[in-house]
């Protein structure tokens, strides 16, 4: 029997063990955070943010102005902020979530698209979603696009 050209067995065993350990480490750590989960979290934010805009855009009584139109026509940022904050953050047990957002609206002034920041809030590249709602502001006779950037703090 000729032994020349064979691998050293100990080296082979060591390499194999290292491979197994590496594979184990990779598999056990990779499955904690998957892209699908991230997607679900964003979908929840998007749904809630849009719901809140729709609720604000629905007049509470027939013939009345909606809160959204009212706050925009009077540039009532405080009013908008209070209403929107409660709608996206309040839970059914009365506690509050930690969602943050900034709000801008856009409109056509005859010559150009203008934008106004309604609620400023510093955004530091968190996982955010953007929700929009077209709204007709009666008193200004304008259609505005309200854009909310929403993220979890």
């Amino acid at each position: 029997m000729n032994d020349s050209g064979q691998l050293y067995t100990i080296e082979g065993v060591a390499a194999a063990i290292m491979m197994v350990i590496t594979a184990y480490l990779v598999i056990s750590s990779a499955s904690i955070f998957t892209p699908q989960e991230k997607h679900v979290a964003q979908m929840q934010l998007e749904q809630l943010g849009h719901d809140a805009l729709v609720v604000m855009d629905t007049p509470r009584e027939n013939g009345m102005q909606s809160y959204l139109a009212e706050f925009i026509s009077s540039y009532n940022a405080t009013g908008f902020n209070q209403t929107y904050y409660t709608l996206v953050n309040q839970r059914t047990d009365g506690t509050f979530d930690t969602l943050k957002y900034n709000v801008t609206y856009y409109y056509w002034d005859g010559n150009d698209i203008k934008s106004e920041v309604l609620v400023p809030e510093d955004y530091y590249r968190e996982n955010a979603v953007k929700v929009t709602q077209w709204a007709y502001v009666d008193s200004l006779d304008k259609v505005v696009l309200v854009e909310v950037l929403l993220w979890r703090d």
């Binding site: 067995t9 989960e37 809630l48």
Partner: protein, 339 residues
């Protein structure tokens, strides 16, 4: 021995190969065993639960249910006819929930006798008509008015530190119609109009005569929701109500007032049915489904005839459409947790 018959070692496996192959097989078995674990994590239960919670939330908020007037059904006899639960007022009005449906939805019991009562069986009925799927999901559904009194919940909270699927929705709640009617009691009046006639013209209540179609969110809807009439301004003491009758036109044909739900009730104060000693809080309540059970449609006219012991008004009948109004929509939060 002849060289020709000597056994050759050329075709034998080398020891290295055997060792290497063994280690490879061990590693392969290791990985294969862990692979199933890896897939379970990929298809993690949290994701599944989140999807179920999302679906349940959408059905509750955006769907009126099947049939859409399921909340008028008597569950003790029509349980199987309710195919799907949903709280929305209509398919074209997502996000606006009907108080009447909310009240019926959250009326449940876990007892074994629930089948014979007009209530949902927890959790079987909800799993069949709302959550769906073969897996017996646990769930907690809660609804809370923002700045309001209304608060409803169903099912236990998930166990602590137990992962669950979650969705939260912002909604508006449409409250039942009410009318405030002031009676005028002039003790010096020589006439004796002790009867108050209230005409309920469904066609006018539903704005069917108007060319512009009213958004269902603002519709006065006594056929599917409770409706109440608040009688106020009683100035002569000891004014009692002696009889309450309902008539259907043309005719007039006397209608039934049933002994129990759904019926027409006279409340002196909230939750206190009483016929006598009227106060300024006296309310006549048409319970949801009463008109439906009597076969009244949105084209009919009915009359509520109230007879008192003292003079009320000058005999002019009251047209309810001039008085009936809807309270403003109330914002609320709906949460669904599934595990």
């Amino acid at each position: 021995m002849n060289d020709k018959w000597r056994l050759s070692e050329d075709a034998q496996l080398s020891i290295d190969f055997i060792i290497g192959f063994t280690i490879f097989m061990i590693a392969f078995i290791f990985v294969a065993t862990m692979m199933s674990g890896l897939l379970v994590n990929l298809q993690s239960q949290t994701i599944d639960y989140d999807a179920v919670a999302y679906r349940t939330g959408v059905m509750l908020v955006e769907d009126p249910g099947e049939p859409s007037d399921w909340h008028l059904y008597d569950l003790s006899i029509q349980r199987e006819d309710v195919e799907r639960l949903g709280l929305s007022i209509g398919r074209n009005s997502p996000g606006i929930l009907q108080q009447a449906k909310i009240e019926k939805f959250f009326c449940s019991s876990a007892s074994s006798s629930c089948e014979g009562n007009d209530e949902f069986c927890f959790p079987v009925d909800y799993r069949q008509k709302l959550i769906f799927g073969d897996y017996p999901y646990n769930f907690h559904i809660s609804l809370n008015e923002i700045d309001g009194d209304g608060s409803w919940s169903l099912g236990p909270e998930p166990p602590e530190n137990h992962p669950y699927g979650y969705i939260r929705r912002s909604v508006l709640i449409k409250k039942p119609t009410y009318a405030i009617v002031n009676v005028s009691q002039d003790p010096t009046d020589s006439t004796t109009f002790k009867v108050l006639k209230v005409f309920i013209d469904m066609e006018k209540l539903y704005n069917l005569t108007d060319a512009t179609k009213l958004n269902p969110a603002y519709l006065r809807d006594p056929l599917h929701e409770n409706m109440s009439i608040n009688l106020q301004n009683f100035t002569i003491p000891d004014t009692d109500l002696t009889s309450m009758q309902m008539f259907e036109y043309p005719g007039p044909v006397l209608m039934n007032i049933f002994p129990d739900f759904p019926t027409v009730l006279c409340h002196r104060d909230i939750g206190d049915p009483d016929w006598t000693f009227l106060t300024n809080n006296t309310t006549i309540l048409f319970e949801r489904g009463y008109f439906d059970l009597e076969g009244i449609t949105d084209m009919d006219v009915v009359e509520l005839r109230l007879t008192f012991t003292k003079i009320v008004g000058d005999g002019t009948p009251i047209q309810l459409e001039d008085y009936a109004q809807n309270p403003p929509l109330v914002p609320a939060v709906l949460e669904v947790k599934v595990w």
